[in-house]
Symmetry: C2
Subunit: 303 residues, 2 copies
Amino acid sequence: MLDLRRLEILHRFSARGTITATAADLGYSPSAVSQQLAALEREAGIALIERTARRASLTDAGRELAEHAARILDAVESAESRMRARVGAIGGRVTVSCIPALAPALAPHLAELQRGHPELTVVAHETGSTTAAAAVLDRRYDLAVIDDWSAHPPAEGTGLSVHRLRREDIVLALPSGHPLAEQPGPANAARLRQIVGDRTWLCAPAGQLSRAAGDQRLTSVGAVPPRRWEFEGLHVLAALVAAGAGVAFLPAGIAREQAGVTGLRPVPRMQRTILALTRTTTREDPAIAACLQAAKQALGSGH
Amino acid sequence: MLDLRRLEILHRFSARGTITATAADLGYSPSAVSQQLAALEREAGIALIERTARRASLTDAGRELAEHAARILDAVESAESRMRARVGAIGGRVTVSCIPALAPALAPHLAELQRGHPELTVVAHETGSTTAAAAVLDRRYDLAVIDDWSAHPPAEGTGLSVHRLRREDIVLALPSGHPLAEQPGPANAARLRQIVGDRTWLCAPAGQLSRAAGDQRLTSVGAVPPRRWEFEGLHVLAALVAAGAGVAFLPAGIAREQAGVTGLRPVPRMQRTILALTRTTTREDPAIAACLQAAKQALGSGH
DNA sequence: TGTTTTTACGGGGTGCGTAAAGATA
DNA sequence: TATCTTTACGCACCCCGTAAAAACA
């Protein structure tokens, strides 16, 4: 009979692509991963991996078995979650991913949860929104907090549960002393063109959701900034706006917290959604549910 | 992570009810089963078994986990079958169940298959039709050959694949010298009443499908036998009919092969269906497919 | 030369069966 | 007393990490 831990190794290998990375993810040595994959091949009776001295890759059979492994591991995870739900105890290890901008708000709530439940281990990393969904499905994380700058957040499906935590307005952030900041009224297309055309445009690096959403709005109103500066991190952008380095689209909350920044609401309205992602197979796990609850408290609509 | 072999033990225990029987089914000692179930409880973190010195039984959590285990094992079995299908080699161990009346016809074909494939191990048992479906779903057998005396054989569903091998007429078997046997024409209701009312009625023990189907026909035509003798095995009944001990419903093939027996076709027609059952999860397993093919050759409609 | 993978080897853990004991009908 | 279950114990096996080697960029 196929071995479950070996199937997990194959599944992880299929997601990561190298034995070394697989070993790092699972806390094994590369040697162990190599040996276990070889043993799995013996069990399956068919070559799963094409071996090069420099690189290992899946064969067709390996890819198919990895897909089966995903379903098997889903079923096992469901069973484990159900058993834990019966016990009701909050414990074990929960891995959480959070986008950097929200981590400071989330971390204290997770720490408090951990304080109340000594059996619980929370491992939190910071990851961007774009890769989080795949990482949760890959079991690299049990819970991911992301933001989505598109008008309609992604629907459920493919084993992912989407929990909407909050909707937040996006504002055009200007230095408070800026003459255009004092003018009343929202930032419609004409005003946007006027402001953007005059100042350095501050935005996230390409590939970020906030960058794509901002670019789209600028294009749609025909605003062309004279200069673009790219910086990582919404709080960094906020500080740059306050220092007079330029203007940017920022979540209203971040703009409000940053002294020396005034936010103008664009028309039509722009929003981002703060989402939490879990696997549907772990929906009943009390530890993960508790972490999700903590995220709702930390980031939910009441704040 | 839950261990797959332990889940298999739990699943088998849930089907068999005692640790001793579970151990016998799986080829373990009762000690090993007891230890593994205890380890599974530790892994699951919840009591799965209510322990009495004399008897072990599942708790609610144990029952639920056993259901999960069934799904998990299904998924694993599917994966294994797919891998074996990719290899295409006919090998491994296949457990077959056959109703006693058909075993003599089936066994030579299985033996020949085994001769052609040294890697293949076939384990054949004889089991009645009534328990075979559950036994296949329980993984006690991979393939079961049964007969069904009702008008409409069971449909697929719940993970069972039904393969129709043959339809066979049922005849009213009389000793060849019997005056009523020589009269031409079929056995309609009036003639059935006449024959049955005069002779000892030979039939299978209660609980057999052939018994239920025969009783139903006698009742529907209002035939009341003066005496009933119950014997196990259709060939035994045929021999008794030939010896002049009475009359019986028998499959046409069995009646034809028995010297000294004449078969009258009842009106309306009675039939039984020879079926093979497999799990849908093993449908692609080449070894099981080959055994099914052998059964079709041995028992199929061409014979 | 550095990275990735595999093989050799040793130690620790796990799981099995045997044997014995406990418990119950 | 006979059966079912559990515990004690020892042995074999398996698995992992360390170390070294091989292959390739």
